[in-house]
Subunit: 398 residues, 2 copies
């Protein structure tokens, strides 16, 4: 567990001269007088602490629906190291046989994998037609197939409506369609910005009630900054504010806020929602806009979707990779990409992410001088092939 | 072997309507009368064949030094499928015990790996101070170490001066420093453009006697085109013509030439010399300019070199990765990058390659929205860390 903690309070104090007070809660922000009301959870006392600069880094909290039985024993959300340890302890000591995971996003799928590997009988309930709804449904279907293949029971297009409880413990999950017996339930329903405190103080909130920030991570209140899962980001493709709770974004925003707070100058240009996940033998990755997001902002697009090989086709352990690139009609500008495949497939998403930062067209991507050797790809990388397919679609040759 | 042939003459004829005549040699090009002198190797006859457009795709030939004994039996160059099969047959049937590889580039190292895995005693002779001289010496040293670790005997800074021969067969390799007993010798001394025919006809040659071409792959002679290992490329960072013989470049040039020859319009913007290789458990990759190339064009640069982990540090099978980024002094523009590491390390070079196409600074690269999950990287990818280190060096904080 120690290896999972990036910096301890002691290291903060000794290495950086930062007084990191854990087990202290801020219950009120007084913007007018530039002070916060602090409560020590250990000593049960409370006092006002003055600030010159205030940094809001309150993160996000898991969505926990107010449904019958949803707070029963045996139902777990996952949002902190402690909550992960709690699930692991329950699996170790209570010997659950049947697990139900609610939600087929990154957390839900990674928990389904972990529980399958621990030998549990795992069911997964997903409201949408396919898991991983940050992918388009045709790509999500490949992930659904992979889950079925490792033995996860999949209930797609079903809504979580509550839990059956006896003696305070969960016994089953109820959907709009069926009742699934459960000894342990994992909620993977996503997170929302933890901004109740900031909002109450009058700090401006934006999309999904995330704290509004500029490129320097300043809020609209002088002297108040925000970064991480509680803050907005600017989406580099849609050119709109978004709330995407990912550690990659949080770290970069934190660095920029820190440089500015420390008297330096840095800006955070924005995000693409790049993400990668591994579920058993299947790798999944995405970046930029997916089809429904492109629709939502009123753009039109073509699709370049190809199947290829993670290594040269004749090379040992070559496996399947599906790459989908989305390009703007007319301009040919890359809008987003998705990858599903076996080992070695997913990290290619970073090529698309870098191309999105550059504003490249798919035509330009055809000539990217990417690396090739038989253990890594065919001479034309799957990324090239998807770009070529999209370029052909633009030219009406699809 | 069939899987290694991309397209057979029959497939050319049946699927594409192309009359691909193998075992025919062109011995003369008559530019004035737009015709070539063709010799059928099977039928021993010769005739003039007219053309409207002529495509020069004569590839490259391995460098074979005119040294005493260099043409003895048991000394092999590697440049075609047949030459590979010849080496394999020799290893299978003649039971050689001691192999000497001359040259520590991609071919030399991949052959050293193959021969070590076949159980031979392998020595490698390299003229430079470290193998893989498309990397800077500090990065090449990591590859040299990896070779020593798998049991290759390494003779660095030694020059191949000839072979000892008896009964027409090689018995030993002679360097400026020692004599190394050898049952089989592999020449991995690189290639040169195969342009004797084109040059004799008066088609303009450029750098390293590669055929001069414009962005559409036209030579300076109307109606004559060239692509592949026989042709020049434009280097996107040095902005000079270069000759880099790689399959990735050849394929892209061929596509562009084909589109133009077919009446379409396409241009090939240029190359970065991106390459990747795997030697046993070590992955090696490079793109853009290395230090000596930057010196040669008179630019100044800073170095961002870091060691990190191929996966999250706590994740099983996390291993070492060294990334070196070179950035222009003043502007901060990325000039090149090199990677040496264990499984999962090398394909990251494509992020740098894409960033070079975009002309990004290392400061811009710090905020690239790259993918993260524990099986693939730390939250800050090694690419980010190298960019941060280079940016710090630019700011005088290295």
């Amino acid at each position: 567990m120690h290896k999972l903690i990036a910096v301890t309070p002691e290291e903060f104090r000794n290495d950086y001269g930062i007084d990191a007070r854990v087990l202290h809660e801020v219950t009120e922000i007084d913007l007018k007088n530039r002070r916060v009301l602090v409560r020590s959870l250990a000593e049960k006392k409370e006092w006002w602490e003055a600030y010159d600069h205030l940094m809001i880094a309150t993160g996000a909290v898991p969505v926990r629906p107010a449904l019958p039985g949803a707070d029963a024993r045996g139902i777990y959300g996952l949002h902190s190291l402690e909550s992960g340890i709690r699930v692991r302890t329950a699996v170790d000591t209570e010997n659950p046989k049947k697990a139900v995971v609610i939600g087929g996003g990154y957390i839900g799928l990674e928990m389904a994998e972990a529980l399958i590997m621990r030998g549990l009988d795992v069911s997964l309930v997903e409201q949408a037609g396919e898991v991983m709804n940050t992918l388009d449904p045709d790509m999500g279907a490949l992930v659904s197939d992979a889950l079925l293949k490792v033995g996860v029971k999949l209930f797609r297009g079903e809504t979580f409506e509550g839990a059956e409880v006896s003696d305070g413990c969960v016994r089953a999950v109820v959907t709009n369609n069926r009742t699934i017996p459960a000894d342990i339930v994992i909620l993977g329903l996503g997170v929302r910005p933890n901004t109740e405190l900031a909002g109450r103080a009058g700090i401006a909130l934006g999309v999904r009630k995330a704290v509004k920030v500029n490129d320097r991570m300043q809020t609209e209140t002088p002297g108040v900054w925000a970064a991480g899962d509680c803050a907005e980001s600017f989406h580099l493709v849609s050119r709109r504010p978004v709330h995407i709770a990912l550690g990659t974004i949080a770290n970069k925003q934190g660095r920029v806020a820190g440089i500015n707070l420390g008297g330096g100058y840095a800006t955070f240009p924005g995000v693409l929602g790049t993400a990668v996940s591994k579920i058993c033998d299947v790798e999944v990755a995405r970046t930029g806009l997916q089809e429904k997001e492109i629709h939502a902002i009123g753009l039109e697009y073509v699709i370049g979707r190809i199947e290829s090989s993670t290594r040269a086709s004749y090379y040992p352990h070559a496996g399947k990779i599906t790459v989908k690139a989305l390009a703007e009609k007319g301009s040919g500008r890359l809008l987003g990409a998705q990858i599903v495949g076996v080992e070695g497939a997913a990290k290619r998403i970073d090529i698309f992410a870098t191309a999105l930062h550059a504003g490249f067209t798919v035509e330009t991507m055809i000539n990217l001088d990417l690396s090739y050797a038989p253990p890594y790809s065919n001479v034309w990388d799957p990324v090239h092939l998807a770009a070529r397919r999209a370029a052909a679609a633009l030219a009406g040759r699809s």
